[in-house]
């Protein structure tokens, strides 16, 4: 699903920051992988490279057998339609209802109205929000907001879901709710990559753990711990 070959990312600014250095990585279809490591290790940078929000300074990245470097600018939107992205800060539209927030994501990729009308309630049911369709984000708890964000990420049936600290702002119980939903999505065959600081959760899930430090992979275990 995702392959990285000698990938490096250097930020040029006032000072040169080497965010990632010589990363080689292969995440298979259907896998659930945690990205862990201290702050500044390069986790977010790695996720941004995977959705081609940025290009690497060196190396090659393949996602779903396609080279992100050779991909043309106008092909990027169609590539992104295969990926769902979940943010730590939710990034919901505050003046839109839950329903509209999710519908928005598939309207943007030009799905028909009838498709929008069937998919949105179904996916909100899946994340357990079927009675909150007409609520506004500020009327929801943090965990509920993150579930809207998950619904938005998966409403398009993506092959791959990338989450950057999806539980970073949530208390332990709510974090587990969110984690369980992601597990359920993974069981349906969706590949999941999740950057996190949540040691306890990583230890209990017993999934693949890729540990980064100072921009390098320092550990990669099949059924690892934080």
């Amino acid at each position: 699903m995702i392959q990285l070959f000698n990938v490096s990312k250097t930020y040029l600014g006032g000072v040169r920051v080497i965010a990632l250095k010589d990363i080689n990585l292969h995440i298979k279809r259907g896998e659930f992988a945690f990205l862990v490591g201290p702050s500044g290790a390069g986790k977010s940078t790695l996720t941004r490279l995977m959705i081609r929000e940025e290009l690497p300074s060196a190396g090659q990245i393949m996602v779903d057998s396609r080279s992100l470097l050779r991909m043309k600018e106008r092909e990027v939107p169609y590539f992104r339609r295969k990926i769902g992205f979940i943010f730590q800060d939710f990034r919901l539209l505050m003046e839109r209802t839950v329903y509209e927030n999710v519908a928005f994501a598939i309207e943007a990729i030009e799905m028909s109205k009838s498709e929008v009308r069937t998919r949105v309630p179904a996916v909100l049911d899946l994340v357990g929000l079927k009675d909150k369709l007409q609520s506004y984000p500020h009327q929801l708890s943090g965990g509920q907001q993150q579930r809207v964000c998950i619904a938005r990420a998966i409403v398009n049936d993506p092959l791959l879901v990338i989450a950057d600290e999806p539980t970073g702002n949530l208390d332990p119980d709510t974090s587990w709710e969110v984690m369980n939903i992601l597990s359920a999505i993974n069981k349906r065959g969706t590949t999941i990559v999740m950057a996190t600081h949540d040691k306890e959760m990583v230890d209990r899930m017993k999934r693949r753990v890729i540990a980064l430090d100072m921009g390098r992979i320092v550990r990669d275990e099949e059924r690892g711990a934080y």
Binding site: I51, F79, F85, R91, A105, E107, A108
Partner: protein, 295 residues
């Protein structure tokens, strides 16, 4: 683009228009004002030209021949006059006919010849019609050189004045329109910039979920075009009201003035105004999108 995508874009455009109502209103008003001026100036120029053409067709050079010419000599001059460049037709009006015309004008039972003791004081006249109003002064000058011509008379300066008035109107009109159109453009661009700013979160999420650049741009374009079209509609309504009122009053007071009133030319003007308004809106959004929407 799919029908539903167009509906989404339309919905978003309307939502933005409503959210920035005051800015939208200011832009619509500016577009309307500039188009009212454009339409007004257009109608003025059209009518002045119409008037000029109407006068032109009346326009002729009158040549008064010397009294001592014989009838043969007078008739023989026709070819000389016809040869002057720009002359369309030449008409010979002998002094008897001139007298008759004068008598007709004075009233029914006048007998001028009797009153004048059988001496007709009028000269023979040649009437030269010009092909083009601008050639009239030249024709007059050339005719004056020909031997046997006593005096040359024509509607001195009228046509020149009218034509220079249309030229002047056109120049000033164009300058004023450009200035106001620029203001309208600036306001539309600012409105769209505010919308882009208000929707920057949406745009960033749209990009991440895989919206194409054109899908992202469309609502902004539509918003600009709707501002332009709305302004144009107001302008057309206003002009129609004003012009029909004017027509009514002018027709009552000075009925001989040839005012353009056929539905065809008005409809054409309105079409042009609606098109210009929409175009103005599209250009205004394009300016803002180029600068502020990095997609």
């Amino acid at each position: 683009m799919r029908i539903s995508s167009f509906q989404y874009a339309l919905r978003d455009a309307c939502r933005s228009l409503w959210r920035n109502k005051f800015m939208s209103l200011a832009s619509v008003a500016t577009v309307a004002i500039s188009l009212v001026i454009l339409g007004g100036a257009w109608l003025l120029v059209l009518n002045t030209q119409n008037l000029a053409t109407a006068m032109e067709s009346e326009l002729e050079v009158n040549l008064y021949l010397k009294q001592d010419l014989t009838r043969e000599q007078a008739l023989g001059m026709k070819d000389q006059f016809a040869a002057i460049p720009g002359v369309d037709t030449t008409t010979y009006v002998p002094k008897e006919e001139g007298l008759k015309i004068l008598e007709d004008r004075l009233g029914e039972d006048t007998n001028l010849l009797q009153a004048l003791d059988g001496n007709n004081p009028l000269p023979d006249i040649y009437r030269l019609k010009s092909k083009d109003a601008t050639l009239v002064p030249q024709i007059a000058a050339e005719a004056a050189q020909i031997a046997g011509v006593e005096k040359v008379r024509y509607g001195q300066g009228m046509v020149e004045k009218l034509l220079s008035l249309t030229d002047w109107l056109r120049t000033v009109g164009i300058l004023v329109i450009i200035a106001i159109a620029l203001a309208a453009l600036f306001l539309i661009a600012t409105t769209i910039r505010i919308t882009v700013f208000a929707r920057r979160r949406e745009v960033s999420i749209m990009k991440l979920v895989g919206a194409t650049n054109w899908y992202i741009r469309w609502p902004f374009f539509l918003e600009g075009m709707m501002i332009g079209l709305l302004g144009a509609l107001i302008a057309v309504g206003f002009l129609q009201l004003l012009y029909s009122q004017l027509l009514k009053n002018v027709a009552m007071m000075v009925s001989f003035l040839p005012i353009i009133s056929d539905a065809g030319s008005l409809l054409r003007l309105y079409e042009i105004l609606l098109f210009s308004g929409t175009l103005l809106g599209a250009i205004g959004s394009a300016i803002s999108l180029r600068k502020f929407l990095k997609v």
